[in-house]
């Protein structure tokens, strides 16, 4: 019995190897050509396979979503920090751009002037109780700066050097009561003399010695005439805001506002060279006209 069983088993194994091997050649060459049993089995198993695949897909998707959510939280924190840093960078860049624009303006002014100038940075602005800048302190970086040297900003004349101490100096503004410069109205060539009023509440200058017959209107620009060898010719000083003509007297009353906004100034140019023409180079002890 054992003998028979042993040979039966061996025969069965050989048969189970031989039968597939016999059909293998055809099935490898034409994998889609299935027999009836296999085809029916596949048909029966198709829904089960679909269910298994759908379940796996859903499980995989759920897990992936969870992982993505974890990533989203981490990314959110990282991106928030990134946004803060970029905002800070943008602010810095905006400041740098504004500074660049100012310096370009100053450089343009420096190149347009026919005299030798040195640049200086504003270090202090002394305000009045009406928040008006009464005096400027500048750092000229050790240049040879003397008293009464003209100071020019991007908008025009700023004032004159009042005192010099080491690398710093103070500036007497155009609106200061002690300031004066000869000006001309480019439109009509009318002449006058701008003198600071010293009003602590607003920037105002008066234009003296404007003949009653000269044509001056509100809005006219007043530029330096070059007379007096202080400022170079053609530097904007003020803009006319009021003109009063009377029926008597030789002169008319003209009120103007400086063209420079002193509260926004960051850097200026100091005229250290001789003004073109027959003007001598400014030396120590020269006085304000």
């Amino acid at each position: 019995m054992g003998f028979y069983r042993r040979y039966r088993d061996v025969f069965l194994v050989i048969l189970l190897l031989a039968v597939p091997f016999f059909f293998l050649r055809a099935s490898i060459r034409n994998p889609e050509d299935l027999n009836v049993i296999d085809r029916n089995l596949m048909r029966v198993m198709a829904p089960v396979q679909f269910l298994a695949a759908a379940s796996a897909r859903r499980l995989s998707q759920s897990f992936s979503d969870y992982v993505y959510l974890v990533d989203v939280r981490r990314d959110n924190n990282r991106l928030s920090r990134e946004v803060q840093r970029l905002r800070h960078d943008v602010r810095q860049l905006a400041q740098l751009k504004a500074e660049n624009d100012r310096l370009r303006g100053l450089l343009g002014l420096k190149e347009s002037l026919p005299v030798e100038t040195v640049s200086a940075a504003i270090t202090t602005k002394t305000p009045t109780e009406f928040f008006r800048v009464a005096q400027l302190a500048i750092d000229h970086g050790g240049a040879r700066v003397l008293q009464n040297m003209p100071v020019i900003g991007p908008g025009g004349a700023v004032g004159l050097i009042r005192t010099v101490s080491g690398d710093s100096a103070t500036v007497q503004l155009v609106a200061d009561a002690g300031f004066g410069v000869d000006v001309v109205v480019p439109r009509t060539r009318a002449r006058g003399f701008v003198r600071g009023v010293g009003d602590e509440s607003k920037y105002t200058v008066k234009v003296e010695y404007v003949r009653r017959s000269d044509e001056v209107e509100v809005g006219d620009l007043l530029v330096t005439s070059g007379v007096g060898c202080r400022f170079p010719e053609g530097i904007a000083v003020a803009k006319v805001v009021q003109v009063v003509k009377r029926d008597f007297g030789s002169y008319q009353t003209v009120i103007a506002e400086p063209t420079v906004d002193f509260s926004r100034l960051d850097s200026v140019l100091i005229v250290v060279g001789a003004v073109p023409g027959d003007c001598p180079r400014l030396s120590q002890g020269a006085r304000n006209p």
Partner: protein, 197 residues
């Protein structure tokens, strides 16, 4: 009862191995000691039925039942796996036979000894399939291309083999009506006896 249980569990394992590739990306994103797993996992879909066949080769005393069950599992794999018909029927019976011969020659009572057998069986199964494709197939390059997947597939099959061995052991206990008649701890690595005792 036992045969039906084996075939049903085999069916589930085949369905499972058919969807394993969906979960590989989770693992493939991991790197161990700076080494990314993604390139190593290409083609690492395991053959979960193979350890069952190895288990049958080791523990099933009845040659007829072992061969028929291997044939049945191969049939399921042919139908659900999508490969050429009869190829797994042939290879799984061959692997079962090789396992049976190997179990008689070497000790296979512990997991440590069974794992190399599962690894070798996986390599043998792949080698048989590639040889058959080379002999009967029309595309001579295909077996060479598929040979690159041989090792990853063998490794992944070996890594999951302990689980399938344990499952097969529990199935044997269930099918034989209680652990008293089944191997004491065939799946857990301790020494055990054959199922027929």
């Amino acid at each position: 009862m036992k045969s039906t249980a084996y075939l049903l569990v085999g069916l589930v394992l085949i369905l499972l191995q058919g969807v394993v590739f969906r979960f590989l990306p989770w693992v493939s994103g991991i790197s161990i000691l700076g080494v990314e797993l993604r390139p190593l996992l290409t083609g690492a879909t395991p053959n979960l039925v193979l350890p069952m066949v190895v288990y049958l080769g080791i523990h099933e005393e009845s040659m007829a039942r072992g061969a028929l069950l291997s044939f049945g599992l191969g049939w399921e794999l042919d139908v659900l796996g999508g490969g050429p018909a009869f190829i797994h029927r042939f290879t799984l019976v061959a692997v079962w036979w090789l396992s049976k011969i190997a179990s008689a020659k070497v000790s296979t009572q512990s997991v440590v000894m069974r794992l190399p057998l599962a690894f070798a069986a996986s390599l043998a199964e792949s080698a048989i399939i590639l040889t058959l494709l080379a002999i009967f197939g029309q595309d001579s390059k295909r077996p060479l291309e598929l040979s690159a997947l041989l090792l990853p597939r063998a490794i992944s099959t070996t890594l999951l083999a302990p689980l399938v061995f344990d499952l097969s052991h529990r199935l044997a206990i269930f099918a034989w009506g209680g652990p008293g008649r089944a191997p004491a701890s065939a799946g857990s690595g301790a020494s055990g006896t054959t199922l027929s005792r």
